[in-house]
């Protein structure tokens, strides 16, 4: 057996990206609950306090509204804050600042003030932490003009999205799916990635599976099962949730003529609904079958494992949706 290739994790890739930002730009600082002494709730910022000190790695009180708002103010004054809101569930306590200040001030001031803040948060379910800690609210936040939303689903994006997000003069929200922190693989290149385009995660000719964040893996697993049955599923990783990259999605569906959207958000008023509507508007005549959606069941997330798994989008449900579209059993 040959020596194992060096591997890294999604968590380490995120940390390296933050380190690089702190080293390359003195305007950058990290602030949030337990980012310092604790090392980050999910271990992303472990070691950074020792390396950069408490001025740049700032532990905050449990005051989401105040420290997110402070990040917005600091960004308006020319700093480049990275604010960690621990999880999307807690960003609800800062929603006023995100929506009424970060998203509006550039426009409301007639273009006088930029808000170059990056807000990171964990999202998603699957860890049996029940209804209040399992939200996927990307769709809600993607509703808001003035924000940009990113969902890194790969090591490459975990490593490469932060630099362009910090360089962006607008508020950028980065959603890290909780199930991905231990994702392992070859260390990605130390290179910024684009934050405009969706990506073809896996090519296929018969159906487009459109996913983001945590559901990219769900779609990819479904694609594996479909491949075994001779159905070529293309997996599109949306990557950027606002503004959506219509071109990549439409181009894919124009080739495959079928689309299933896999979204961990609830179906009603979801990002999946938005993507579906855009497909209807822009490539209705390319479709061989109605667009399908595989979303989380519309319940507050239950604790019991079997119920949680039943609520979440699973590869089997994606496969079943494709079967309905192609009229075949896999």
């Amino acid at each position: 057996m040959s020596a194992a290739a060096p591997t890294t994790t999604y968590r380490d890739a995120l940390r390296e990206a933050i380190r690089e930002a702190l080293l390359s730009d003195e305007r950058v600082f990290l602030m949030g609950e337990d980012v310092g002494a604790y090392g980050g709730c999910f271990g992303v910022s472990k070691g950074l306090l020792a390396e950069f000190g408490p001025e740049r790695i700032r532990d905050t009180p449990l005051s989401e509204s105040a420290f997110v708002g402070a990040g917005i103010g600091a960004a308006m004054a020319g700093m480049r804050p990275i604010v960690e809101v621990m999880t999307v569930n807690f960003c609800l306590l800062a929603l006023d600042q995100i929506m009424n200040n970060a998203a509006t001030i550039t426009h409301m001031s007639g273009g006088q003030f930029a808000v170059p803040i990056v807000i990171r948060m964990t999202t998603g379910a699957g860890r049996q932490v029940a209804a209040q800690h399992s939200h996927s609210l990307e769709g809600w936040l993607a509703h808001i003009p003035g924000l940009k939303l990113l969902a890194p689903a790969t090591l490459k994006d975990a490593r490469g999205m932060l630099a362009p997000a910090l360089a962006d003069p607008n508020p950028v929200l980065i959603f890290e799916h909780g199930s991905l922190y231990n994702l392992e693989g070859e260390p990605p290149p130390q290179a910024a990635v684009d934050i405009e385009r969706a990506a073809i995660h896996r090519a296929g000719a018969d159906v487009s599976l459109i996913a983001y964040g945590g559901t990219v893996r769900v779609a990819a697993e479904a694609a594996e099962q479909l491949a075994a049955a001779g159905i070529g599923a293309e997996v599109i990783d949306l990557r950027v949730l606002r503004p959506l990259d219509d071109a990549t999605v439409l181009e894919s569906v124009a080739r495959t003529h079928r689309a299933v959207i896999v979204d961990e958000g609830w179906r009603s008023g979801s990002l999946a609904a938005e993507v579906s509507a855009r497909l209807m508007e822009s490539c209705f005549y390319e479709l061989d079958a109605p667009v399908q959606r595989v979303c989380t069941a519309e319940v507050p997330m239950p604790y019991a494992r079997h119920l949680e798994q039943a609520a979440l989008p699973q590869p089997e449900a994606v496969v079943a949706a494709v079967e309905r579209m192609v009229g075949a059993r896999v």
Binding site: E55, A75, M79
Partner: protein
């Protein structure tokens, strides 16, 4: 606390002129609102002018201001041109926010005026962020943050007080206590009505000031700003004031008595300063007339500027949702 002496009558005249600018500007706004030139929400500062005028005297050019939705007075006293403010209220392109903000969202990057904010308490976290940026960069600047008594009931107030004191941020908190959160009286919504005491409980210097006395406000603001600047820590002023007009143009003002309003009108900061200046021989009838004329002229020019302003082409509707060009 008794009012400080007026050592420099010339300075007193300047304060009077500033307060008159705000008062007459807003009186004109009422006319223009009735005429349909100004629409939307409009909150008048009439009665509270001594607060903004007194505090601004303590600020320097490099300092920043975060204001509320009742911020015409803050903007004018800070030096945002009256024409740009009026044009904004008209919704014109030449307005200080290109007509996208209106009365509640006046902005001026040049004056470091970080906006009226129409969410009660919403500006407080921004202010500590501006101050944090200054602290991290070692800049000798103060951020003055205005908010009303109503904001004290918001969670953001308490989060912000704690963080400002914990991180020793250079913010001058100016709580404009006009005794009403829209239509609800202070004693009907606060268990502890001594607002300076609340701030002091967060380990910051805090005291109450007669907000109807511009000299007292200025003196307190100078002292507080010096503490912020030299001490590198936040300071809190509770400025006890009163608005003579209703909360907004939509408010029928049913929750307080005419007698109460009248009793506060007896403490109108403008006639009070006029009387003091007259007493000191610094203001004769002719002087006041000349002052009023100059102010009326400025406001007339502001109205003409707004009238002559243009409407932003509808094709530009979606501009500025995202920043245009390179990051600043």
């Amino acid at each position: 606390m008794s009012a400080p002496p007026l050592n420099d009558p010339g300075h007193g005249l300047r304060l009077l002129r500033q307060m008159l600018r705000v008062r007459r500007f807003e009186e004109k706004c009422v006319e223009l609102y009735s005429a349909g030139k100004i629409r939307g929400f409009m909150h008048l500062y009439i009665g509270e002018e001594a607060v903004a005028v007194g505090v601004m005297e303590a600020l320097r050019e490099q300092d920043a201001v975060v204001a509320t939705y009742r911020e015409h007075g803050h903007a004018l006293a800070r030096g945002v041109p009256a024409g740009a403010v009026m044009a904004e209220m008209y919704g014109k392109l030449e307005g200080c926010s290109r007509g996208r903000g209106g009365s509640m969202h006046l902005f001026d990057a040049g004056a470091r005026f970080y906006g009226g904010n129409a969410i009660v308490g919403g500006g407080l976290p921004l202010a500590i962020g501006l101050a944090l940026a200054d602290k991290l960069r070692g800049l000798d600047r103060v951020t003055a943050c205005f908010f009303g008594d109503g904001a004290v009931a918001e969670g953001e107030f308490h989060e912000t007080m704690n963080l400002a004191a914990l991180w020793q941020l250079p913010v001058l908190f100016c709580c404009e206590n006009n005794r009403y959160a829209m239509g609800t009286a202070l004693e009907r919504y606060e268990s502890e009505t001594d607002l300076a005491l609340k701030a002091a409980s967060y380990e910051m210097t805090a005291w109450s000031v007669d907000g109807m006395d511009v000299l007292a406000v200025e003196e307190a603001a100078q002292r507080a700003a010096a503490e912020v600047r030299d001490g590198g820590r936040p300071c809190f002023l509770e400025l006890r004031t009163y608005r003579f007009r209703a909360h907004s143009m939509y408010d029928p003002d049913l929750y307080r008595s005419k007698e109460e309003i009248e009793s506060y009108r007896q403490h109108d900061p403008i006639p009070a300063l006029e009387a003091l200046l007259r007493e000191r021989g610094a203001l004769a009838d002719a002087d006041l007339q000349a002052l009023e004329q100059a102010v009326a002229g400025e406001i007339q020019e502001a109205v003409e500027f707004a009238e002559a302003g243009t409407w932003e082409p509808v094709e530009e509707l979606e501009r500025f949702v995202y920043w245009e060009g390179e990051a600043p």
